[in-house]
Subunit: 532 residues, 2 copies
């Protein structure tokens, strides 16, 4: 750490940078050391004025300690944010993990008032728990309209599949956040719902013209702006009809002309992570930050290299490429946002009310298609998950494992890094002799793009369900996550087969669905080793 | 919670009970709700005088908070203990996870002075980190002599396979603990090393007479007693030659005549967990506690029902079955032990010295059998683990996954709840078409009883290694954990096949072995998704 005084301009610029850190306290616990700065670098950057941190990883209790530690390294109040779009427990264990927003979007079709009330409680619960963990800025609500079921990156994170639903529920969520003094963020402007490629890996192109955007993509953002949303996050999308050259994140047409002037947004504009391939593959870290700022952004999220981003901005302000008023404006917006946040810390993250909300959301948003009890006393509990390192939905005492096991079913977990259950036959894709004999309870944990397989490309679950039905071996079916997959599978299902759908994957979702589908479980003599 | 004053006798008895709690703060985070009391019960029991807590689960940072919380519910200083036999990181993420003790037992054969020095640092590191987390009582060292490689419960947790090694290293460990003001515990008296059944599930019988015990089992305990060990934990073992009726935990002959009178131990005698089947299947929770106390125990660990244990003891003291002097004696020993402990709290759990010790132990105790580089650029990284929920050795960025994947090998993880890789053929047991084509790097994470399989009974790894060798597809072999399995597999291995053994399973062990066996890894473009 240099003991030289930091150039005041450089320090001001640093305030506008948001760097990534693990929620764990120790460097060795970082899950993604490539993305998460080590403590030595964080300490130096925060000491030198960096103004925000985005956190991922660790438990809610660790996050409480972590935010205090990081704040102690800074000489000014920091913005602490996280992608907690589905409750703080989505990212930080021990807090409430709520059903994905699209579950309320679906509920809104039949019970709009209830869905709106739940969305507001959802926002309040998220905000309160965020605050208790030391976060003051929730990177949500997602305001994208998910009108493309194949969307690999938004999907069930959206609040609706039409602009009215998405806007109304996102505004209710934001209202809940604001009640407890936590900042929100409408994302991903101008709308990421109709893309089929993944901006983490590539730059999606949206062919829509302004008229179409006005109909579908923009209304939820407009509604949130009018509701006083604190910040808007930009999308790494190319919209050739608006700006044929620059993706939205770097486009003055999109950020300044459209968002600021025409839509009247006066809060903080923050980029999506500049380290994402859609940006990083095209621009160096210095130029990416300058282009974003030039386009109208106030905060630079996760630059590929924070020092380089500051260097680039410093040079641009010094040589007049960027006017100093833009710096003043951005700093002023950041100060105003920080002035709104409440601070508290307490040991207990989730209240009894929060736990009740978790349960109520699961119950309100699940579908029990056929509740005929599963009475098998042997057979297979076949579970499909994306991956196991980590697998937040499953642990040793997850209801999805324990409840069928108590009936006598043997759990077999299929995942991207396991032995393949597939054989090369379109009609009988499951190699059943690898899995076991007897009736099969099939539990599919699938989100996002329904048939995305990790190693096998596309997993043929429709054919596998048909195969099991034909053999009279399908004891039951549960889909956790994707409504699109559920609708596909449900269509061909024998109506007498016990089946259910829950938009959430959390233990509470498993418990809710399985206690309905399975016969009351006997108390088990053992539920895991207790000690050495 | 009753507001009635607690009977003073009842409160004194409660001091001698050690209950089990999760290291997490929130009830919902408990991994084993059957064994771990909910906070409401903990709060009531501690308020009513219960004097100790054994903790498992949660990170080291959470444990810091948790011990403070539990202490705040009590009106007197508590004993906080945990089974941290292999560093605090064995049980609490973020602290140092060290190679198992038997690794130093093996090193002691060739480098006794180095092994002893490392064992003392091992104890100091464990004690310091325990103290920083709020623990004041380490349930170690294991003093059992592991002279039975088939032992399913002690195995690599022992410090030696002969009494001299076990005693010398265990005493060095205890010396390290005491230097930092943390209590130790010699276990499992009178020696659990020569058993082939698991006392968690059944009551093992040890046929040895006193002469044999004097030769093998007792010397390490005698050495620790002379070195001033603070506590001794009893074994749930039947020794018909000493007491044909009662297991050691409940035997006056073993605890009072042998341990106290003949061996001269004056510290705390604590039972092993009374909830274990070896005891709980034979006695109710009231009677088990009374029998243990009657036999000579001072502290009752993890009774199946704490209230019932207190009821039973209260009745036994009231009606004269147990003399009041025994209560006074036990309380006095507990006070003396607590008077020895140091207290500190600090945010950082592991120091740089601790990290250095982790690395040094791995390097000192690993065997690189053949360091010929593995240069495969495609093929399979076949990993065998006991289970995946949880799997402390593996996470998304574990070197055992990442380093081979960077070379181009596809990871396939075999575990007790996965699709079976086995076919019914003794000579070619691995169904290779399920696993993939090309050379196979085989990494076996096996501890304890080497061939214990979860679902498949005994996994035929010796035949599988021969099968891969015969097909010229064995690119390399690593065993993490069991020296017995390693010795078996090594015997038939082509000496030109890259192969290594490490007694530890932690990421540092994987890094050490694989950076030697694999060609230098290229920097990878991606190491996991970084955010949504």
């Amino acid at each position: 750490m240099s003991s030289n005084p930091i150039d005041p301009l450089r320090r001001q610029i640093a305030e506008l940078i948001v760097v990534r850190a693990s929620g764990h306290l120790d460097d060795q616990q970082r899950r993604y050391p490539r993305w998460e700065l080590p403590n030595s670098a964080l300490r130096r950057l925060l000491h030198n004025g960096v103004g925000g941190v985005i956190l991922l990883g660790g438990s809610a209790t660790e996050l409480q300690q972590r935010t205090r530690q990081l704040q102690s390294w800074a000489s000014q109040p920091l913005l602490f944010c996280a992608d907690v779009e589905e409750g703080v427990g989505q990212r930080f264990e021990g807090a409430s993990w709520l059903v994905p927003p699209l579950a309320l979007g679906r509920l809104h079709r039949s019970e709009p008032a209830r869905a709106l009330a739940l969305a507001e409680r959802y926002g309040r619960c998220t905000g309160e728990q965020a605050r208790r963990c030391g976060l003051n800025w929730v990177l949500g609500p997602v305001c994208d309209v998910n009108n493309n079921p194949a969307n690999p990156v938004i999907n069930v994170r959206a609040w609706g599949e039409d602009p009215g639903t998405a806007g109304a529920l996102a505004a209710a969520f934001q209202h809940g956040l604001n009640q407890v003094g936590v900042l929100g963020c409408a994302k991903h402007f101008p709308g990421h719902g109709d893309t089929a490629s993944d901006s983490h890996l590539d730059l999606p192109v949206l062919p829509h013209d302004r008229q179409r955007l006005d109909q579908i993509e923009l209304p939820p953002f407009q509604q949130l702006i009018e509701a006083g949303i604190d910040s808007v996050m930009t999308a790494h999308l190319l919209l050739p009809n608006l700006d044929p050259e620059r993706p939205a994140t770097l486009s003055p047409t999109v950020l300044t002309d459209l968002l600021r002037r025409q839509m009247g947004f006066r809060g903080l504009v923050v980029t999506d992570a500049l380290v994402m391939e859609a940006i990083a593959a095209r621009h160096g870290p210095q130029e990416a930050a300058v282009l974003a700022f030039e386009a109208g952004a106030d905060l630079i999220l996760m630059p590929a290299d924070a020092d380089a981003a500051i260097d680039g901005l410093q040079a641009a302000f010094s040589d007049g490429r960027l006017p100093m008023e833009r710096l003043e404006e951005a700093l002023q917006r950041r100060r105003q946002a920080l002035a709104k946040v409440a601070t508290t810390t307490t040991a207990a993250i989730a209240s009894e009310d929060d736990r009740e909300l978790e349960r109520e959301l699961v119950a309100a948003c699940s579908t029990i298609q056929c509740a005929a009890g599963i009475s098998a006393s042997s057979g297979v509990n076949l579970i499909r998950v994306d991956g196991i390192f980590p697998c937040p939905a499953l642990s040793g005492d997850a209801p999805a494992l324990q409840l069928p096991e108590r009936l006598g079913l043997a759990s077999v977990v299929i995942h991207g890094q396991g032995v393949s259950p597939w054989q090369n036959n379109a009609d009988t894709p499951l190699a059943l002799e690898r899995i076991g004999s007897g009736p099969v309870l099939l539990q599919l944990f699938v989100r996002g793009n329904p048939f995305r397989g990790h190693r096998d490309g596309r997993e043929p679950w429709l054919a596998a369900v048909r195969q099991l039905q034909r053999l009279d071996r399908l004891a039951g079916l549960v889909v956790y996550g994707s409504p699109y997959l559920w609708e596909q599978l449900k269509a061909g299902l024998d109506p007498e087969i016990p089946a259910a759908y829950c938009p959430g994957q959390m233990p509470e979702a498993q418990r809710h669905v399985l206690t309905t589908l399975l016969r009351p479980a006997e108390a088990s003599a053992h539920n895991g080793e207790f000690t050495d």
